[in-house]
Subunit: 346 residues, 2 copies
Amino acid sequence: MSELIHPVILCGGGGTRLWPMSRPARPKPFLPLLGERTLFQQALDRVSDGSIFAGPTVVAGEAHVGHIREQGGDVLSLIVEPCGRNTAPAIALAAARLPDDAVMLVCPSDHHIGDVPAFVAGAQAAAHLAKSGCLVAFGIAPDRPETGYGYLQRGDPMEGGFVLDRFVEKPDRARAEQFLADGRFSWNGGIFAFTAGRFMEELSRHRPEMAEAVRQAVAAGASDGATFRPDAGPFEGIAGESVDYAVMENTDRAAMVPVSMGWSDIGNWQALHEARAAGGAEAQGNVAEPLHELASCSNVMAVSDGPRISVVGLDGVIVVVDGDEVLVTSADGAQAVGQLAGAKGK
Amino acid sequence: MSELIHPVILCGGGGTRLWPMSRPARPKPFLPLLGERTLFQQALDRVSDGSIFAGPTVVAGEAHVGHIREQGGDVLSLIVEPCGRNTAPAIALAAARLPDDAVMLVCPSDHHIGDVPAFVAGAQAAAHLAKSGCLVAFGIAPDRPETGYGYLQRGDPMEGGFVLDRFVEKPDRARAEQFLADGRFSWNGGIFAFTAGRFMEELSRHRPEMAEAVRQAVAAGASDGATFRPDAGPFEGIAGESVDYAVMENTDRAAMVPVSMGWSDIGNWQALHEARAAGGAEAQGNVAEPLHELASCSNVMAVSDGPRISVVGLDGVIVVVDGDEVLVTSADGAQAVGQLAGAKGK
């Protein structure tokens, strides 16, 4: 059993840049943005091979429990965060409940991965390194000078991967182009592997108060079927921090496995447009259900929960209709959708 | 009484280029496209000065009767066309029921006129010429090389206007620029003045069968309150034709009065955008109710019957939400809206 990889799937974040489809009551992971299954269901599907993966553990806030049970079923192991404290405490909740030698594979629930076999192969390579005591990040092969992601700089090769030299914050365009040309940089997709014991050990070293609070929250927690609720008191006292900052950037055993798996964080409507277009769009880069009509258009995406969308004479425009909200944005404007009054719930 | 001008307001045409707001069940004249009153109501308002105008006569198809009574009231004189046969027979229905010396002012019901006093002054000048036996067209001062309208070429000046030398079909861009530079050309806005007797006389000369059929339809018609229904039999046999072709281009007494009155036929969404922007738009040429949000936009118009519209990072785009239809078009694309499947009722 300890040979199996233990998936830990994190559900967090609102996805306001995918407003108006993503809304507080129905956030991004639980939407069928690509295909018929939701991103959360696809995250479960990717780790469903029982010869490689143990049953996954989902870590999520109370607001998501209904969606998770509806889409993931009642037997899925679920840890309910008493409050949002970013990824390091969320991962620690899962780590503290697993055997020390269990290899965890931490995955976001709201990304798209086009090439699942490549993902599984990456998970196995990362697990191999994790068993030797490394804390491993997936390094996603960049195909453009993206300024919206953090980067990983790799060092010397090691068994099945590379030493991870450094985390780099989102770069400006010039640096992103430099990274792409350099070849040693990959995107940080927020996918990590380590044993539960090593993770808690490193957390205790670098964030001892956080580690202790999580241990207390787990010790005083309560199970109800497949749902575990840590004690709120100690957890609420934690200063929220990402796993990147709290652990990965501090450990001297960071490693990286390179993967090329058709990855997108679907961070905004333009990213979704690109992911859908890659999956086989109409001519001229248009993406729309047959109901809609795109006349003299190129690179236009139309998404609707009902009304027909007709577009004439435009290039590089995204139209989204959802309930009482209609969004029309340029490709570049997609980055700013989260700033709209509607996306802020006003 | 015979000194008063008799307005004849024509309600016809679907206005498919203003789809999805204009639809078969609620066509363009009956929409409040500019201001709180509909275009039809504004057409009535323009001729409401009882010291200048007699009570208007509306000529319309059966499908419009409900709208006309709702928006125009029960005492408004209405002639119901048994079927659509273009403008010459429609005008003849009104002419055949008026005294020979009554001066008619024929007006479309779906245009916008920003400067109503200029319109009234033009009507009085046209009526003066009409009384002397001319068939008078309003010549609208062009302010751009428009290719979407027919043109009138004026000749020698005459009392209060000009001899009308020639009707010119919609020109190409080069000719339109030539017309604008020439100075003798104006737009044909479909507004005409003549006495009822002169009109029927000219119609009898150039289209004797049409004139006779209209006389028979009127003679065998029936009144119900303020509503007159001509006999369908003779009217249905008429070969439909515009007043331009049937009469105005054939008479040797055609005249033109020049008017500059902020006229627009609101022929498509871009024309409406321009008319609304001229009436005091937001900064950057944007036009939208406060509900909507236009972020980093210029020359964008947002029109909705309910849902909020949010637009990001676009220039020269029109967004219209109406019931189960959403239209997004470029300024140039607005010309092609009538060709969309939705506009064709598919």
